[in-house]
Symmetry: C2
Subunit: 343 residues, 2 copies
DNA sequence: TATTAGCACTCCCACCTAGTGAGTGCTAAA
DNA sequence: TTTAGCACTCACTAGGTGGGAGTGCTAATA
């Protein structure tokens, strides 16, 4: 589809455009990237590339700008090649690792860091605690037919939720229920024990069958179906970018970011085994903003699916952004070992 | 200090400026606000008011703009007079009341609502649970000399925190400790029982005196000294305001908002018995942004100090903003009754 | 056939130049 | 004390100009 030389030109235009933000002329390319050829030759190639929708001119007598298609080619080239971890920002990443206390605050800090290091907006999302290992499950009665469900995960993480009970239940019976669940589930991941649990839990609590089912279901929701919790940081960074000098464009981006639902959709869609992915311009309908790119990567942290991302202008330094993102994600991620033990 | 007529002119200039955003001329004031007098008269008065630092001219041949001093006069006049609850936004406030589930999400929603209704940035902060009534206190061992402290408040609210124990302690002893604290504190506010608690808690746990002290201290921190948790919403609103057409100004505001610490300071300083207060321009050093005003009000919600605020341009519709803020705050606030019972 | 030098052409942009109008300060009269 | 009148100031706009970067096309060249 593209000749070797055309590819070279496309990559050069994108690279130069990312650096300067200005339309790139044939002379520049000839002088800095394809020294053997003259500007006229490049011009001919460029005219072809324009027909093929890799380049376009903002007006007749201007240089060329890359289209999203050209960015795609450029980013794919970066992703294909082996990336080396940059050094300048390693200090910050170590700093983050040092401060890493609970996941929430780590992510909050990470989004700021991501944003500041790349001049983009940092986003983070934690999903359900699918891989987490349980330590204790407890129900506390807080009102008639209302209980507070508390799940403590290994490492001291705590999840809780207020739930309605189909039948009223006194605290003693709730304790019995808590006890039964804890005995079986402790030291294992919920995903593995949930199916085997109901029969055992019901023993001695037959008259509360409905409650038992409801209780297990709520734990299910809490640990497996909990929606993603979002963080963003460094929003102010993009204000200084020339790409967003236009206020109306800025407003669209900010409004979308505050909406959260579209970001959540984006994260939801992004399955962790995808590694790292880059969306350019309006490639993904969930983030339909021209001139914005999204980079996302994910891993497991504290037993939870964790997605880290960057939102910035299409004209961003992808190379740097990607390696910052990878480094930060790496320093957030943890592997929690699970006790091997059956019911 | 100001004659009756001068005051009238100041209020008129502020009012007109808030409406139009343009410098206000003597003719406008004469025609719309002081019909008896001619423009020339108003001009003379205005020259005096300029000397007194209530008005200024952006350039020689322009109308007058109000200084922060003039805004102060205007706002004080509003605050002095009885305010009527507006009707147009009552629908949204009712909606908020309907959705009011847990305090966190209510505040999150409230900040959005505040922002959208007033075209400002909504902020909210919840402080320590000073007034809350306890239901249960529990310690769960999660590692060698590390325990998870869980405090359940009446109504099913939960606070938790990981703490270090001076001495190691097995779960059984931790249970004993939990039990002792719960028995005394349940049904009362922590503030009232904390001082009387230590002696009782130590009984039977003499050899763990250090741990007991540490444990009570941690509950103290969790319930009384916990720092404010901040929310902001509707940040995108100010992007469309002509007052922030200047990107650099916008950037300063956004950066400050993301910093959080200065907002926290602002909230911290604001003591709840102050009712409602308005800071104009750089009146408060904690929010040193020219052309920005802050309105804050606070109350108790779910036993916690709750501050609601608005950050917007100095040129905002104070009348509307104040009444929206009061209405939203009112719909968030709750009074929790406390059981009357002594140790 | 691919490449290149030359040249006319296009169009943005920065700069300048009135012209317009809203609003002022000052003065002198009511 | 108030007001009409008038000269003056200054931001804002529209229209005009020159320079420069970059193009497309053509014809000569390897």
């Amino acid at each position: 589809m593209l000749t070797e030389r055309q590819l070279e030109i496309v990559l050069a235009v994108v690279y130069e455009y990312i650096k300067t933000g200005e339309p790139v002329g044939s002379r520049t390319i000839a002088k800095r990237y394809l020294r053997g050829r003259s500007a006229a030759t490049i011009r001919n190639e460029m005219a072809d590339l324009e027909e093929m929708d890799f380049l376009y001119q903002p007006h007749t007598s201007a240089g060329r700008l890359p289209t999203p298609k050209a960015f795609r080619v450029y980013v794919d080239a970066i992703l294909r090649r082996q990336r080396s971890p940059g050094d300048e920002y390693q200090y910050w990443v170590r700093e983050l690792k040092k401060k890493r206390d609970d996941l929430e605050s780590a992510l909050r800090y990470a989004t700021k860091l991501l944003g500041d290091l790349t001049n983009c907006i940092g986003v983070a999302a934690v999903g359900p605690a699918e891989e987490a290992v349980l330590q204790k499950v407890e129900f506390v009665k807080v009102a008639e037919r209302t209980a507070l469900l508390i799940v403590i995960l290994k490492g001291g993480l705590l999840h809780h939720k207020t739930m309605q009970l189909p039948q009223d239940m006194d605290q003693q019976t709730l304790d019995e229920l808590s006890q039964r669940i804890t005995v079986v589930a402790s030291g294992k991941s919920w995903r593995k024990v949930r199916d085997a649990l109901l029969k055992y839990v019901m023993q001695g609590l037959q008259s509360y069958a409905e409650n038992c089912k409801a209780a297990l279901n709520e734990v299910d929701i809490l640990l497996l179906k909990d929606s993603y919790h979002l963080f963003t940081g460094g929003k102010h960074n993009i204000l200084s970018l020339p790409d967003f000098a236009d206020l109306s464009r800025l407003q669209v981006v900010m409004a979308l970011l505050e909406e959260e639902s579209s970001i959540a959709e984006l994260v939801q869609k992004f399955s962790p085994d995808k590694g790292l992915s880059v969306m350019i311009g309006k490639e993904d309908p969930a983030f339909p903003i021209e001139d914005c790119s999204v980079i996302m990567a994910s891993n497991i942290a504290d037993g939870k699916k964790t997605v880290l991302g960057l939102i910035g202008p299409v004209r961003m330094d992808y190379e740097r952004s990607i390696s910052v993102l990878e480094a930060v994600l790496d320093s957030i991620s943890t592997d929690v070992e699970e006790e091997v033990d059956d019911i």
